[in-house]
Amino acid sequence: MLKANKPILLGLVGATLALAPLAATAQEVTLESLKAETAFVFNTMLFLMGGFLVMFMAAGFAMLEAGLVRSKNVSMQCLKNIALYSIAGIMFWALGYSLMYADVNGGFIGSWMPYSWPEAGTVNDGSYSVGSDWFFQMVFCAATASIVSGAVAERIKLWPFLIFVAVLTGVIYPISGSWKWGAGWLDNLGFLDFAGSTIVHSVGGWAALTGAVILGARKGKYGDGGRINPMPGSSIPLATLGTFILWLGWFGFNGGSQLAFGDNANASDVSRIFVNTNLAAAGGVMVSIFIMALMYKKVDVTMALNSALAGLVAITAEPLMPGPLASILIGGVGGAIVVLAVPMLDRFKIDDVVGAIPVHLFAGIWGTLAVVISNPEGDLIIQLTGVAAYGLFAAVASATLWLFLKVTIGIRVSDENEYEGLDKAEIGVEAYPEFTR
């Protein structure tokens, strides 16, 4: 009896459709149409599942950064992360998606217009639902912005940062993304970047690097005579949680980038991607732990966390083709890059609060080049061309924007505000008001 009553449940349109399909369309079902429709649903599910996993990476970045900044700037970092995810979600609708995917035609840019989806209740054309694809692409765009926020932490003002994010997610990322994923000129050239070591991570990394340089280091970070004053992060468990959330999200990031899940071969490829992604991260962690044990005796957990991410970034350009050992090594090199590049940046007085530049930019470049190791269609020259093109565009566009913001509204808080912490200065709410520091 329960069962008889239950089907009339929530959601008007949904309920109607849910009950109707067999009756309504049974007459035209063929084996081919059923196979296609089943594949359509599987592909859509891949995008939605991949999408919510990548969406959750916004929480991962927020926790990683909240853990690695000092407690006086934690509320600010939390606000910036939820705001940037929101801005990306709106800008990628208002401008981004069309700039990236509409009428690129082998060129350099798509169209300037907001995006729209088929009406509710519509049967969508194509091999996946339009909205699921948008959602999946949007969360990638948001990830690009998240990369920036950690590097420029503890000294940037709120509003210039948010404006930067709006332009990055609405214009810069979509334009450069169109070159490859929008079937633009680099795609025509044969540039390979499966899930975005360059398109997402390096682009975010360049925006981070230019921002960190133009902002300058945090006050007191670099002393006389090359002395580096560490400013330890406020909460290692939050940074660890953030890293695990990012690792989880990466299964959606790389797995979803297969773009298809509707048959045996695609489902098997997605599985392969899951496995390789995991092995690369594991390789990153282990290599960095070994190097640190040899170099420093102690094993800095923040570097191990960064190295997991670097391993993930490194495999992102080609998570499908490598075998297990190759995946471990590709990720392992990513881990090594972190351990070596973090102190190197300090030597150049580039103050990257959370290690975003080694993780996303350097490991992203490495991963993009490493495609040629396992993918016979990869060509080192073309990969280098892509790396250079993205680097040039992202660096120049970002630097221009940062400098414009600097000379207009200013990007850096006053020394006093920096000393007191951005939470007091711009948020008014301390992150841990009760704990004595």
Binding site: I228, N229, P230, P232, D300, T302, M303, V342
Partner: protein
């Protein structure tokens, strides 16, 4: 009356408190502090950069005692808190003019 301030290693806190209790000390106040002295902090490493920490965690005890107990208390602290390693801490003795128990308003030695 004297106001005794003792800086000790944190892990000695419970032992010292117990020892003083058995001497007849009925109250004291403890604070977490950071000490700078001959005992240096470890050289630490954070993200590949070495740095020195100048301050070491210590506990500060403040104990108001009647004159008769002063030497015993000082003696007991130096004995119990001693590990023989650098950084064991200090005992400072200051003069105490007056002591009042808030609850009753009693003043002097009986307030302690």
């Amino acid at each position: 009356m004297k106001f005794i301030i003792a800086i000790i290693k944190p892990f000695k806190l419970d032992e010292v408190r117990e020892a003083l209790t058995s001497l007849g000390v009925e109250g004291l106040t403890a604070t977490d502090v950071k000490g700078y002295g001959r005992q240096k902090g470890q050289a630490e490493m954070y993200r590949g950069a070495e740095y020195e920490t100048y301050f070491v965690p210590k506990v500060k005890l403040e104990i108001a005692v009647i004159d008769e107990l002063v030497s015993q208390v000082v003696e007991e602290i130096t004995t119990v808190a001693r590990s023989g390693k650098i950084g064991d801490g200090k005992v400072f003795v200051l003069d105490l003019d007056q002591a009042i128990r808030i609850r009753t308003g009693e003043a002097g030695g009986v307030a302690l």
